[in-house]
């Protein structure tokens, strides 16, 4: 899908990440414009998830620069709170808070972190649950929900912070095919509404359909990138071709 794109929101420049001697990312650069949806694909262990974690400072980068809406992430004096207000993240294992209901999960961060008015937050949280089609599950605990339902609550929970960018880390990898679909539909709607999304995914069909730009990573480098119609159909690099042959 083609959209008119705005200013760059996330700019990653020559990022390197090491865990001890292990180099997970080397010289990774990419840029995501406002309203753009990009997908990062590649084999396991190629550093995709690490890159996402670097963008919201869950993991510090070793070298290079990541800028999110004007905030430099690789800065010792980084205001993590300001950064994380702008960046929402959804995890593979949902990671809902099991002792709180779906509604409370969505409300917690805006109420306690952003100190917003509880009544306003609750109204917004209910709208968000309705948006992810879980209006009637507001009072259910995570343990009472299916994997797909939990993941949609997790998406609503992130959206409640009104982020500028959403990071999705293999969010459908733990789901069965039917529940996977509900989650993908939700993400597609978000992307269509103009939310800036960065997805790490193994769903090639979904990447082709929803992404404006696809990055293929292998062994910590971006091997090639381009619009999905080109990269997925006519990869230039042998490594990309080998990977796509395996997964398609």
């Amino acid at each position: 899908m083609k959209r008119t794109l705005g200013q760059p929101v996330v700019v990653v420049k020559s990022v390197e990440k090491r865990f001890g001697d292990l180099v997970v990312l080397r010289d990774v650069s990419l840029s995501v414009a406002k309203g753009e949806t990009i997908c990062i694909i590649g084999p396991s262990g190629s550093g995709k998830s690490t890159l996402l974690r670097c963008i919201n400072a869950l993991v510090p980068v070793t070298r290079g620069s990541i800028e999110v809406d004007g905030i430099e992430v690789n800065d010792p004096g980084l205001d993590k709170l300001a950064l994380r207000k702008k960046v929402g993240m959804v995890f593979q294992q949902y990671n809902l808070f099991p002792h709180r209901t779906a509604l409370q999960n969505v409300m917690m961060a805006p109420v306690h972190v952003l100190k917003q008015d509880r009544a306003d937050v609750e109204a917004r949280a209910r709208r968000l649950l309705e948006k992810v089609r879980l209006k009637d599950k507001a009072d259910a605990y995570p343990g009472e929900l299916s994997g797909g339902q939990q993941q949609r609550v997790a998406i609503a929970r992130s959206l409640a912070m009104n982020p500028l960018v959403m990071l999705f880390d293999e969010v459908t990898a733990a789901l069965d095919p039917e529940t996977k679909k509900e989650v993908l539909v939700t993400i597609r709607e978000l992307a269509a509404e103009g939310m800036t999304c960065i997805l790490v995914t193994h769903e090639m069909g979904f990447a082709r359909e929803v992404a404006d730009h696809v990055y293929f990573t292998d062994a910590g480098v971006i091997v090639e990138h381009g619009p999905p119609s080109e990269l997925l159909a006519r990869p230039k690099e042998a490594r990309t071709r080998a990977f796509l042959d395996q997964v398609l």
Binding site: N56, L58, K80, L81, R84, K85, V87, G88, M89, F91, Q93, N95, L96, F97, P98, H99, M108, A109, H112, V113, L114, G143, E144, L145, S146, G147, Q150, A154, R157, S158, M161
Partner: protein
């Protein structure tokens, strides 16, 4: 029963068969007291007490010199002994309170981001957890001053309070282990997702992590309390007038060997009637939490 999310057909992932069997209705429907108190055991103990009294009574009547009845003597001393027993309970409350507060802090210090804090608290925990309670009690009795001077104010430290401190040290170390273990039993992904939602470390701990481990920690904490309550009789060794001391005093005053077994059995029964329900309740809680997960 709600369906488990992501239910699997794989037999390896199922809980052991014993956990799946339906419990008999009687066990579930019985009221709080029936389940918690287990009257059978308590009844058995009271019966044992009665038997020992009868036996001693028979001996007393067969004696050459006339003596007061065993039961009458026990009733005479019971109020004083019971006061002593209540003092044991009071000491257990105070030691548990101090030990829990200090132990929680010590447990939290063990997950500190500062390495020196983490190491020091770990050593302190290991030291107090693996030291005999009586030795710690002796140290506190003889090393703590009888009064504290703080900014010109003199705070007296009576012996009973030093004993409370002495007992709260091992409690502290055990609580620290319970807290640390509870926190570390929560998956790291919970910390990560809270961090991604901009929660601070402290908020994450108090609002997300600790509420989740509380139910896992509660049975262990109650178990520790029951052990502490029984261990409070140790303070009689360092000269505090507790139930144990007063029982011994009563026996010395009566100077009769036939009272030895029934009198101590009476004290023991009080402790049992107090601690056993706690133990049963702990088991009931453990089972409930194990099912819910």
């Amino acid at each position: 029963m709600k369906a488990l999310p992501n239910a699997t057909d794989l037999p390896v992932l199922l809980p052991p068969a014993s956990a799946l069997t339906v419990r008999p209705q009687s066990e579930l429907s019985g009221g709080f007291c029936a389940r918690v108190f287990a009257p059978k055991v308590a009844f058995g103990l009271v019966l044992l007490l009665a038997l020992s009294v009868c036996f001693a009574e028979a001996q007393a009547q067969g004696a050459a010199t006339p003596r007061a009845g065993v039961l009458a003597t026990m009733v005479k001393w019971a109020p004083l002994m019971f006061q002593g027993f209540l003092f044991n309970i009071l000491v257990s409350f105070m030691s548990m309170a101090i030990g829990t507060v200090a132990g929680t802090l010590l447990g939290l210090a063990q997950i500190s981001l500062l390495r020196p804090v983490r190491r020091t608290s770990w050593y302190a925990t290991q030291f107090f957890r693996n030291a005999p309670w009586l030795v710690l009690l002796f140290y506190c009795m003889f090393l703590l001053p009888f009064e504290l001077r703080l900014f010109g104010i003199v705070i007296p430290l009576p012996a009973w309070f030093k004993a409370v401190i002495g007992l709260s040290l091992p409690v502290m170390a055990n609580v620290a282990e319970v807290v640390r273990g509870g926190i570390q039993s929560i998956p790291l992904t919970q910390w990560e997702s809270a961090e991604a939602l901009a929660f601070s470390r402290r908020q994450t701990l108090w609002m997300i992590i600790l509420p989740q481990c509380l139910k896992r920690m509660l049975p262990l904490w109650m178990n520790l309390y029951a052990i502490l309550t029984m261990a409070t009789t140790l303070i009689s060794v360092v000269g505090i007038q507790d139930g144990m001391t007063l029982t011994r005093a009563a026996l010395v005053a009566e100077a009769r060997t036939d009272l030895f077994i029934p009198m101590y059995l009476m004290l023991l029964t009080w402790f049992f009637l107090y601690c056993y329900p706690i133990a049963r309740w702990t088991v009931a809680l453990e089972q409930r939490f194990a099912v819910r997960g």
